[in-house]
């Protein structure tokens, strides 16, 4: 509640949250055959009310019979544009929970768009080209970053307040940390990714 009170004030003051993303017992995505480009680490803050989603849309093109990019982050309510840049038709759809949609058949130069009001991962496919698969990672705030293990992340212009910093990686436990962003200055918060599968297996034995 303190955080809310501070958030409602004028955002004259803003801080920066940054840190390094470290690997524990996760295979190096550069060398692990299972990685397949799934190196994304998504970091975001929870505990604030964004006035409105970013006006700039997120774009997933259909090009060379692939979605490009195959992984995007969108804020709830933010428009996700899906232009067809191929010389074939596509029919983009998702069966993910309450985010289900079907954009129908459309050809080159045409675009359909969609917004998501539920957070989570939305799997996007083409009903014609089954090898096409993209994921939209829907976060509740514009204060997010997309990084990789071994790299760092930075969230800028964060209003002062107390937040839960969350980090997601496909083969890691969800990371949740409470952080306090001061009226001015920066917060450093490193993220240690750990493989989620290993401890669970051990516990069952």
């Amino acid at each position: 509640m303190v955080a809310f009170a501070m958030l409602s004030m004028s955002p004259a003051h803003a801080g920066t949250v940054s840190g390094k993303i470290k690997l524990a017992n996760i295979p190096d995505p550069a060398t692990s055959p299972a990685a397949g480009g799934r190196e994304n680490v998504v970091i975001w803050l929870e505990g604030m009310h964004d006035a409105k989603p970013p006006e700039t849309p997120v774009k997933i093109s259909q090009h060379n019979l692939q979605f490009s990019p195959e992984f995007v982050i969108a804020v709830t309510g933010q428009k996700v544009e899906m232009p067809n840049d191929d010389d074939v038709v596509h029919n983009v759809y998702s069966f993910t929970g309450s985010s289900q949609f079907n954009l129908g058949l459309y050809g080159k130069g045409e675009m359909r768009s969609i917004t998501f009001d539920q957070t989570g991962i939305v799997d996007v496919f083409c009903s014609i080209h089954h090898q096409m698969h993209a994921r939209v990672f829907v976060v509740p705030t514009k204060y997010f970053a997309n990084s990789m293990p071994g790299h760092s992340f930075t969230l800028t212009d964060v209003p002062p307040g107390r937040y839960v910093l969350k980090a997601w990686h496909e083969r890691s436990h969800m990371i949740e940390k409470t952080i306090v962003v001061p009226a001015s200055g920066s917060v450093t918060s490193d993220i240690l990714l750990e493989n989620g599968a290993q401890p669970a297996t051990a516990a069952r034995k």
Binding site: R38, V88, V89, Q118, S127, H129
Partner: protein
């Protein structure tokens, strides 16, 4: 909904998704097996405002500014096209490999040229070649006017020795001397010969296919099966990724992973023109109009039937080098293949009715024959 609630749902979603993602990123897991992707119907196709890949009815023939069409030029070009005296041994004309009775191709795997020599590649049809912005399988000519000079002087095709040899031969035929004077206000030259032949070739177009009528808005012009085939063409088969535009070609170059037959002559395709590594073994996308009339197929005529061509693409091509990433296993069903072939047959348009014209008589020109004898003696 509270924030805690959102967070909880999110974590649940992640847990479910993690299972799914680990199990098979590119497919459906058992949990989703009951889920059917939205299906596509011919009725949906009919609702498309424009067809993807700029597929459309044949437009008017483009005519280059430096070679306007006129009736006398077209008639001269037609005479030249059919005249075997444009070859060294007076045995072959343009129409030898581009036979009006064989959809302006030759029905052979590889072209047969001067004194029976086999070329390296399949004779492409002249039909609708006027729409293409690249000529020859390797695109070494951009226009028909450039293209038709090639075979005249090619040693294994018509084998005229040089421009002077060709000009002497034409000057020995009074009818041609008169025609060139009338049409070009000039004596014959290699450029004028090419302009005349190209003008004739610009009349060899095939409008009014049933596909053309469909693309122009007559939704009843194609049968249900042909529409399903068109859906395969622009969808699952991804044919229109390269066979696009009004003439069903993007005029670009790809390797399909074809494997050359043992003993086949060396051929590196577009690489021979550009010397760029990425062009090695690539060949120009051919038009698909009238494709059911122009067997055999591929740059080397190595595939005999349309059914085999579809099977080739369905299996994702073969293991040859530099294969385009647009060539991959399609998993078409037997029905989809049949539908696709039915659609391809709807691309047959009105064929031009062309009869070989009466040839001008020749007055033996000493200079030309001397050259001929010298060449053969060598």
């Amino acid at each position: 909904m509270t924030r805690k609630d959102i967070g909880y749902r999110f974590v649940c979603a992640l847990t479910i998704m993690a299972t799914f993602l680990v199990a098979g990123r590119r497919g459906f897991t058992a949990d989703e097996s009951s889920f059917k992707p939205p299906s596509i119907t011919p009725e949906m196709l009919d609702t498309l405002r424009t067809l993807p890949g700029s597929l459309s009815a044949l437009p008017a023939v483009p005519v280059p500014a430096d070679n306007p069409q006129d009736a006398a030029k077209i008639e001269l070009g037609k005479k030249l096209f059919f005249d075997t005296r444009l070859s060294l041994d007076r045995a072959s004309s343009c129409a030898t490999c581009h036979d009006p009775g064989k959809a302006f191709a030759d029905a052979l795997p590889r072209a047969k040229g001067f004194q029976g020599q086999l070329g390296r590649r399949n004779s492409p049809t002249v039909l609708n070649a006027a729409y293409n912005t690249a000529q020859f399988w390797d695109g070494r000519a951009g226009t028909l006017d450039e293209q038709c000079k090639g075979p005249l002087l090619n040693p294994i095709e018509m084998n005229m020795l040089d421009e002077k040899h060709l000009v002497d031969r034409l000057n020995s035929i009074p009818g041609y001397r008169q025609d060139f004077k009338t049409v070009f206000s000039s004596t014959p030259t290699l450029d004028n010969v090419a302009h005349a032949i190209a003008s004739f070739e610009r009349t060899l177009v095939t409008p009014n296919s049933r596909f053309d009528h469909y693309a122009a808005g007559d939704k009843s012009a194609l049968t249900q099966q042909e529409k399903r085939g068109l859906l395969v063409f622009i969808g699952k088969g991804a044919c229109s990724e390269c066979h696009n535009g009004p003439n069903f070609t993007d005029n670009k170059y790809y390797s399909l992973g074809s494997v050359a037959a043992p003993g086949a002559p060396q051929d590196t395709g577009r690489y021979e023109v550009t010397k760029r590594e990425e062009d090695r073994y690539t060949y120009k996308t051919p038009s698909l109009r009238n494709v059911s009339l122009t067997a055999p197929y591929m740059h080397d005529g190595s595939v005999a039937t349309l059914e085999q061509v579809v099977d080739f693409y369905d299996r994702g091509g073969d293991g040859g080098p530099n294969k385009s990433k647009l060539i991959y296993k399609l998993n078409l069903t037997t029905e989809e293949k049949a539908d696709l072939i039915a659609f391809l047959k709807s691309l047959n348009g009105d064929l031009p009715t062309v009869k070989a014209p009466t040839m001008y008589p020749e007055v033996i020109a000493q200079s030309s024959e001397q050259v001929t004898r010298e060449k053969i003696a060598r």
